[in-house]
Each structure stands twice: as C-alpha cells, then as structure tokens.
C-alpha cells in the first residue's frame, strides 16, 4: 500500500500556520521556558525555605546525584525498560489475538466477557503481592505485572476497532466478491487501526508504571526497587533521581507511540498534515 504525500495546507490557513518554522520554534521554546521556570521556582523554594533534602531535595541536588549514580541508574533503567517492553509486547500480542477472536465470534465473547470484567475490576496493585507468592522474586514477576497493567485497554480498543468498520464498506467488498480474510485485511484491520493505536498509546505509558510497581514488591533490581530502597533509607535525592529516570522512560515510550501512530495511520484525520511537522 502506498504512503500518502504530505497533505497540502488549506487556503484558509492562518499567518502562524503559514510560517511553519516560527510555529515550530514557539512549539519547542514555550515548553522549554515553562520547564526551566518551574525548576527555577522549585530550586528557589527549597533554598528560600531551607527545606532539608530528606523532605524535598533541590533540582540541582537531584542533578548531582544523577551524575554521581549515572552508571547505577542506567543499569536499573535497563532492567526496568526490559520488563516494560517485554511485558508490553506480550500484552499487545494477547490483546490483538483475543480481540480478533472476540470481534469475530459472539460465542467467544460470551464465554470470555465475564472473566475479562472480573480481571479488569480487580485492583492491579492488590495482585502484586500474589505474584510474589506465585512466581517469586525477579524479572518474570515484573513482566507479568506489566502484562496485567497494559493488556485491558489494548483489548477493549482492538475489539471496538474491529467492530466499528463502516457497514457500507463491508457491503462494497462483498459486492466485489471479497472473502472474510480479504475483508479483514483490506477493510476491518485498517479501519480498526486508529482505535488499536489509541489503546497502545494508553497502555504504553502504563508499561513503565507496571514494571516499577512490580519491582516495588517482587524484585531486587530495577528502578522500582531502587526507589523503594532509597525511600526506606531516607536517600530522598536518589529516590527523586529514580523518579526522573522513570518519567523519562514514560516520555520516551509516549513519543515512540506517537511516532508509530504517524507511521501506521498517516491517512487518519488526526494525522493529516502532521507529516509536515
């Protein structure tokens, strides 16, 4: 399937839209200034009120700790990121397969629906200690926790997407003699992509969170473990350093999902024109 060319700008584009360079500059500059301003206020508040670092460390102190413990942080990040990515991929595969089965067969839905609702209703954090009992300490528990955390949004969106294909488009393929497989490939799956991608975007940001919570209770490695250990020993700047790294991981995964969205559904109304950005 060919990829679209960049959508042309409309005749009614505003002056700001007409100067993409300036617009892009403002798009980067404003968040940057906002970030620097926020950090500056934080630094001033800590110094001004003379807050002890075990309560709230200053950004500069966190930066120093991050530089000192860079090697350790990267090591823990690698462990957490591996758990997050592996768990997310497993959840994605399960959600796509199960979603396709549920969308294709009302009988499968009736059998699975009650279990899925129960599964979704159970607070995920409550499951964490149970994983410790069932699977024990280590990476496996973290990965399974990520699967538990990220699976449901992707499943729901896959089912919704596969079921929301335009009935007239389905009629069109029937009129052309398209079989079930061809209809899935040419109509149902592309129609479902925006919904599936939305599910992925929700879940991908939950993946690092799932890994960290898994590591709180069932791991002796990773950023979650580092965080809980640091808080326990009142090394709050280290805990903050771990939080910063987890946040960066979350931001990276979010932008990764955005990139995947642009590649996967450039034709969708939400993406048109973004190819120029």
């Amino acid at each position: 399937m060919s990829q679209p060319r960049a959508a042309s700008r409309s005749i009614g584009a505003t002056a700001a839209e007409g100067a993409p360079g300036a617009s892009r500059g403002a798009g980067i500059l404003l968040p940057l200034l906002s970030g620097i301003g926020g950090l500056g206020l934080w630094e001033l508040a800590v110094r001004g009120f003379d807050l002890p670092s075990y309560l709230l460390p200053a950004p500069s102190e966190i930066a120093v700790v991050m530089a000192e413990k860079a090697h350790l942080l990267l090591d823990q990040l690698q462990y957490t990121a591996f758990a997050a990515v592996t768990g997310f991929v497993i959840a994605l595969i399960i959600a796509l397969v199960l979603g396709a089965l549920i969308a294709a067969s009302p009988a499968v839905e009736r059998v699975l629906y009650v279990w899925l609702v129960v599964f979704h209703a159970i607070p995920k954090v409550v499951v964490a200690p149970l994983l410790l009992v069932w699977i024990g300490f280590g990476l496996k528990s973290s990965i399974i926790f990520v699967v538990v955390f990220t699976f449901f949004p992707m499943l729901v969106n896959t089912v919704t997407g596969l079921r929301s294909a335009d009935p007239d488009l389905l009629l069109l393929t029937r009129s052309m003699g398209g079989n079930a497989w061809q209809t899935l490939r040419t109509i149902r799956l592309p129609s479902a992509m925006p919904s599936i991608i939305s599910g992925i975007k929700i879940s991908i940001t939950l993946a690092p969170l799932g890994a960290v919570i898994g590591e709180f209770v069932a791991s002796n490695k990773g950023l979650g473990h580092m965080l809980i250990q640091s808080v326990g020993s009142l090394e709050v700047p280290t805990a903050f350093a771990a939080v910063v790294v987890v946040s960066v991981l979350g931001i990276i995964t979010w932008y990764l999902a955005e990139y995947v969205e642009r590649i996967a559904i450039p034709w969708h109304a939400s993406q048109r024109g973004r190819a120029e950005e």
């Binding site: 679209p4 060319r5 959508a7 007239d168 393929t173 040419t186």
Partner: protein, 258 residues
Amino acid sequence: MSAAGIRIEEVSRTYAARGRQVHALGPISAMLEAGRTTAIVGPSGCGKSTLLRILGGLDRPSGGRVLLGGAPVREGMPGVGVVFQRDLLLDWRNILDNVLLPAQLQKRDLTHAVARAHALLGELGVGDFTDRQPWELSGGMRQRVAIARALLCEPSLLLLDEPFSALDALTRDQMGVLLQRVQGDGRTTAVLITHSIPEAVFLSDRVLVMSARPGLILDDIPIELPRPRTLAMREEPAFAGLTRRIRMHFERTGVLTG
C-alpha cells in the same frame, strides 16, 4: 465481459422491524434488456435501493427470484460493478489503489488492471490524481474515482445507487455526461436508482416508476432520445414531455404537490 439481461420474477421483500413485519417491496416483475440502462425512480422508502441490492445479490428477496444472464444472482458474482450513494473510497489507499481494489479482491491480472485504471481515471478527468489520497479530492472527483472502480473489471452489470445525490447541481450534470461516455456502447447493462426525474430520463433507455411502499412498478417508460445525449437536449420538448409523464405519477399519488 458482454452485457447480460436481468429477469426479475415476482420479487418481493419483507423485513422485521421492531417486532413487526414491514412489506417493503413488490411483488414486481420486469425484464431488463442486456446492454441497456434502466432508471428506477420512486419516492423515499419505496424499496429502490433494496431492489438494487437484490439485483446485485447483496440482499435476498423474501419471494421470487432474479436471473442474470439466465443464472440466479448471488453475492460477489463476477461481472457486477456497484456505485453507491457515498463514494466509499478507502482513506488508507491512494486513488489508484482504490480503483484497483476489485481487481485485487478478484485476483485478476494487475498489469492489465493498472493500465485500465489509468485509462478510466484519465477519461473521467482525474488522471492526474492517481497518487493522491481520497481526502485531497472534492466530492465530485471522489465519485468519479468510485465510478472508475466500479467499471475497472468491465462489468456486464453496473448498479448505480443514487450515485450523484450528494453532489451539487453543476457537478451532477457533468457526472451524467461523463457516465454516458465511460459506460461503453452496449457492453454493460446498467440499473440506475435516482430521485431525480431529469437525471433518470437523461441517462437511461427506460424508466421504471415505482410507487410508495410497498414499491410496485407504476409505469414503464421507454426513453427513445438519441445518443450520445447532451445537456442541451434537456431543454427539448421531447425531454420535457418524458419528465412530465413521470412527474404526473408522483403528483397523482400525492408524492409531489403544488
């Protein structure tokens, strides 16, 4: 593929809605000659589109049967092209790939299909937009692409379900002229569903006038205007006489007043 005649034998359609049976269509019988264009006009809800779907094998009649070239129609039979009210272009495919869809689904020779797609798009005036996406085209251009898609596999039966109803008056007139041009000289049997009386007369060799629900054939009017038809012909007395004859049916049954 050569044109095939359609025999409609006592076709009726009833469907269930909110727990009760609704008699939507017929019974109607007609013979639609091979290579000719038949327009079906009637008020909203008279079962025109239902009849079209039955003719294309996309819906089953509750009674009666439809034979295409002597064989009962069935869903997805080769040699049938359909143009719907909406253009139904796939946003995730460019214009050329949209036109190629039937050839791909029917596993036809793509080299030949690509050449024909280019030729059809050129003839329809959208040949310069083959690598564009559907959303970059106007409504009229999109509908031209939909017509090219329906004609790609040289159908023996072309079904047109109010194909121009969403277009403005000028584009609509132009589309009528274009459709005549690309439809071929007697190689395709066409059935056109429309609300527009002038459009029905302009494009067809015969007009079937249908009553309100349940749709029955009120009149069968041959259109013996010379071809190719031009827009100027619509101002001639013969054309006006035909449209008047159709309009009078709707006035008599209260569909049109004033």
